[in-house]
C-alpha cells in the first residue's frame, strides 16, 4: 500500500507534490501530544506581522491567522509547515508561512532540497505516524492565492491562436501575423491586483463598447465575455535592474507553473485597445490554480518547441539548449462539458524565451512575478483555447447540454484542468482553475 493511501496512478502522487496555501475550514482542535504549541505561537506571530505589512489588507485579513503552506498528496493536503516542525526540519522557516513567497525567494538549490525532503516525508513509512495529524482532506480546507503577485505579464505565444485572431480581426491583411510576431514573444503587463485564486467568482465587467452600427460607444455589461486557456509561470528568485536574464538561467529564476484563465471582455477590449493595448477588457480578473507545480516535477514533460521558421537573435536562440517546451495536455470545460483540449506543446515561444525577452531591456525580476503563456490553441478546431476562436467571434455556436453558446452567460462555470507525462508512465496533474460568472451589479 503506498504511503498515505494515494492510489497507484493518482496524478497527485508523491512524484508531483505541488505547493499551495490553505486554511482549515473548521477551528483547529486543541493541540495533541504530537504538536508543539510554542511553534503555533511563533507562527501566529509571523502571520500577524505579515498581515500588518501586507499590500492587500482586505485579502490578508480574511482567515490570515490560519493560512499555511500545504503540499497536495492525492485528495489530501499535507500541512508542510507543521510537518517540518514535527520532524525538526530546517525548512520550517520556509514552509510554516502564510504564503509561498519565502520559499520562492529562497532560490533553486533550496527548491530542490525542500522537494527532496518532502518526497522523503511522504514516502518513508517511518514518518507516517508523525505526519498523519497534519494530513487534511481537501474537502476540509480552503485554498488561497498561494503567493503575493508582484508584476503580471501576459504573452501571446501560440502561433495558432495569433493566426486565428489575426484572421478574425484583420481579415484583409496579407499575413495573419503582425511583422514582429516571429522575431520576439509579444507581451504586455496586466493587473496583478486582480489575480485571484481558482474558485473565486468573477463579476461580469461593465464598460464601453462600440457596436459597428452605432456612431458612439454605449455603456453596459460586456456581451462578449470570454476565456483564455493559459499556463502561468511563477518567478521565485529576483534579478537586479540593468541585468538581462539569459535563456540558460531560466531554471534559476522560475520556480513552477500553474493554470491560468485570462478572462477577456472582447467587446470592451476591441474598443479600447488601439493604440496602447488591452486594459479594462482584461483587468477585471485573472484566475490561477491554487496549486503551483514545481518545474522539478515536470522534467519528463520537457519537449522541443515547434521548429522555428525565422532565424532568432542570439538572446532568443534556444537551438543549443535543453528542450524549452512542456507537454501539458489542457482541458477546458464549461459547466462540466469539455469544449476544448489545447496542447501546450504547440506553443511557438517557450517560457525561457519569454523570460529572456521580459528582461533583455534590463527590467528586474521580483519574487512573485507571474507571466502567462498567452492563449494555448492547437491546430484543430477542437484545440482552440478561447471562445473567440471556438465560435469565430460569435459567427458559430457551441452546443452544450444546457443550450448554445457564443460567449459566456451568467452562471457559467469554466474549469481548466491539465496533466503532463511524469516518470515511469505516470501522469503529473496540474491544479484546476475554475470560476463562475456572476451577473453585473
Amino acid at each position: 500500500m503506498p504511503p498515505f493511501d494515494v492510489p497507484e496512478g493518482d496524478p497527485f502522487g508523491p512524484h508531483n507534490l505541488p505547493y499551495g496555501v490553505f486554511s482549515l475550514n473548521d477551528p483547529p482542535s486543541p493541540p495533541s501530544p504530537g504538536t508543539h504549541p510554542e511553534h503555533t505561537t511563533e507562527r501566529a506571530a509571523e502571520r500577524t506581522s505579515e498581515r500588518a505589512n501586507s499590500r492587500t489588507p482586505e485579502r490578508a485579513t480574511e482567515r490570515a491567522t490560519e493560512r499555511t503552506v500545504g503540499v497536495r498528496l492525492g485528495d489530501h493536503v499535507l500541512d508542510a509547515g507543521a510537518a517540518a516542525l514535527a520532524l525538526g526540519s530546517p525548512y520550517a522557516g520556509l514552509l510554516a508561512r502564510p504564503t509561498l513567497n519565502p520559499l520562492l525567494a529562497a532560490g533553486r538549490t533550496a527548491w530542490s532540497d525542500v522537494r527532496r525532503a518532502l518526497t522523503a516525508w511522504v514516502t518513508v513509512p517511518a514518518h507516517r505516524e508523525t505526519l498523519a495529524p497534519h494530513l487534511h482532506p481537501l474537502s476540509e480546507v480552503t485554498l488561497h492565492l498561494p503567493f503575493e503577485v508582484a508584476d503580471y505579464v501576459d504573452f501571446y505565444a501560440s502561433e495558432n491562436h495569433a493566426r486565428n485572431v489575426g484572421q478574425i480581426f484583420r481579415p484583409d491583411a496579407a499575413d495573419s501575423l503582425t511583422p514582429n510576431w516571429k522575431h520576439l514573444p509579444i507581451g504586455y503587463h496586466g493587473r496583478s491586483g486582480t489575480v485571484v485564486v481558482s474558485g473565486t467568482e468573477v463579476v461580469r465587467p461593465s464598460g464601453q463598447r462600440k457596436p459597428p452600427t452605432d456612431a458612439v460607444p454605449v455603456f453596459g455589461p460586456s456581451v462578449r465575455l470570454d476565456i483564455e486557456a493559459e499556463v502561468g509561470f511563477v518567478v521565485g528568485a529576483p534579478s537586479p535592474m540593468g541585468t538581462p536574464v539569459p535563456l540558460s538561467a531560466f531554471r534559476d529564476h522560475v520556480f513552477g507553473l500553474c493554470l491560468l484563465n485570462d478572462w477577456s471582455a472582447r467587446d470592451i477590449q476591441a474598443w479600447e485597445y488601439v493604440p496602447l493595448g488591452p486594459f479594462l477588457g482584461k483587468s477585471f480578473a485573472t484566475s490561477v490554480s491554487a496549486w503551483i507545480t514545481p518545474l522539478d516535477a515536470l522534467t519528463d514533460a520537457q519537449v522541443a518547441p515547434p521548429s522555428r521558421t525565422h532565424p532568432l537573435l542570439p538572446y532568443l536562440d534556444d537551438s543549443e539548449d535543453e528542450p524549452g517546451g512542456y507537454d501539458l495536455r489542457i482541458s477546458v470545460a464549461i459547466n462540466g462539458h469539455i469544449v476544448s483540449e489545447p496542447p501546450f506543446s504547440t506553443m511557438y515561444w517557450t517560457a525561457a524565451q519569454q523570460l529572456a525577452q521580459m528582461t533583455v531591456n534590463g527590467a528586474s525580476l521580483r519574487t512573485g512575478d507571474l507571466y502567462g503563456s498567452g492563449t494555448v490553441s492547437g491546430q484543430p478546431d477542437s484545440e482552440r483555447g478561447s471562445l473567440l476562436e471556438l465560435t469565430w467571434n460569435g459567427r458559430d455556436t457551441l452546443t452544450l447540454p444546457d443550450g448554445e453558446r457564443t460567449f459566456l452567460e451568467d452562471g457559467d462555470e469554466v474549469t481548466m484542468t491539465a496533466w503532463a507525462p511524469g516518470p515511469d508512465g505516470t501522469r503529473v496533474g496540474l491544479g484546476e482553475v475554475t470560476g463562475r460568472i456572476t451577473p453585473a451589479p
Copy 2:
C-alpha cells in the same frame, strides 16, 4: 521669524508638507535626553519584520533598518515618526514606519488629521525645542522610494500629446486621434517593479528595433531614448473587486501626487507595440519624485479641465463636480538647461476620470497603486513633454549648451520640477524627479 527658519515664500513651507521616506547618511548619534530609546527599539523591530516580509528584498535590505517617514520643510526633512513619538502623538503608528503604505492605507480622515497635526507641530513655537533634534538637512539624508508600488498604470490624457504622436506616427490618418480618444481615457498597465525613486541612474536599455531600411530586426542599445513628463497619482485607500469607484469618490482613494518620468525607448517601442501595446520600450525604468504631495496641499491649484468636445458617458461626466484639473507648472531640464515647460492644466482627462475609468470594470484598487497622467504637452512647441515631440521624432534638433540633441545621450541628466499655486499667493513645490543615463552594459 517663521518656525524652523523656512524663508518666506519657500515653496516647501508649512503650507506644503509633502511626505517621503528617508534615512540618515551617517550612523545616528547616541540618544540624547530628548529622545526615547525604547521607541527606537520598537521601530527597529517593526522594520526588521517589514524587511522579512517584503516583496523586494534587494531594495528593502539596503539601509532598511534606518528608513522612516519624513516631511519636507524648506531644505530640511522632519523625522515625522520621531516627532510623533517625542510629542506623544497617536499618529506614531502611521509615521514611525519605513514606508508610507500604512499612512496611505489609513484613509482620507486619517490623512487630514495627520496633516493637521503636522502643520501644528511645525508652526507652533512651543514644539520647536522638542522637534529640533528630529529636523535634518536634506544634504544629510538619502531619500528612498516612498511607498511600495502595487499596480502601475499609465494613461494618455493630453490631447496635444496624443495629436502630436498621431501626426508623427500616422501622418496619413484622417484624424490624428484614434476614434476612442475623446470617449475614454486610454491607459495600459506598466511594470511596477521598475518604478524607482528620483536620483536612480537609468541604464540605457537594449532590445530589438527594426529600422525601416532593414528587412529584419537588429539588436542593440536603444538609439531613441526619450523622456515623458508626467504627474503620478498615488492610491491610498483600497476598493473591493466588482465595485467601480465613482468620480465623486476620487478624494477618498487618492492620497497625493508626484512627478513621474516615463522613460521610453522609442525604437524598441515602435517595433514591439502592435498589437498589444508598449512593453519593453517602457518597462526598464519609471522614475518618481521622492516627495508625495498630498492633495490636501493642492486645493488652491484645482482648475477646470479644458471644455469637452464630445458628450461623456455618465460615469465620466464631471460637469457637475468640483474642478478636476490641477494647475501644475512643470519644467523639464536636460543637464540643467530647460527644454520644456508643460502645463498640467491642459490635460483633457482628469485624475478622477482616470480612476473612474480604471475601476469601471470592477477592477479593485490596492494601497500603493500608482497611475501616471500620460505625457503632459501644451499647445506651443515650448510646452511639449517628450523629445519625440520636441524634435518631431528626430527630424529637428534641440540645441543645448553642450551640443545638439534629438534623443538622450549617455551621461545626460533629466530633471523635472513643478510648482502649483498655493494659499495666499504662495507656491506649492513638487519634489523633483531626476535621473542620469548610463551606458548599456
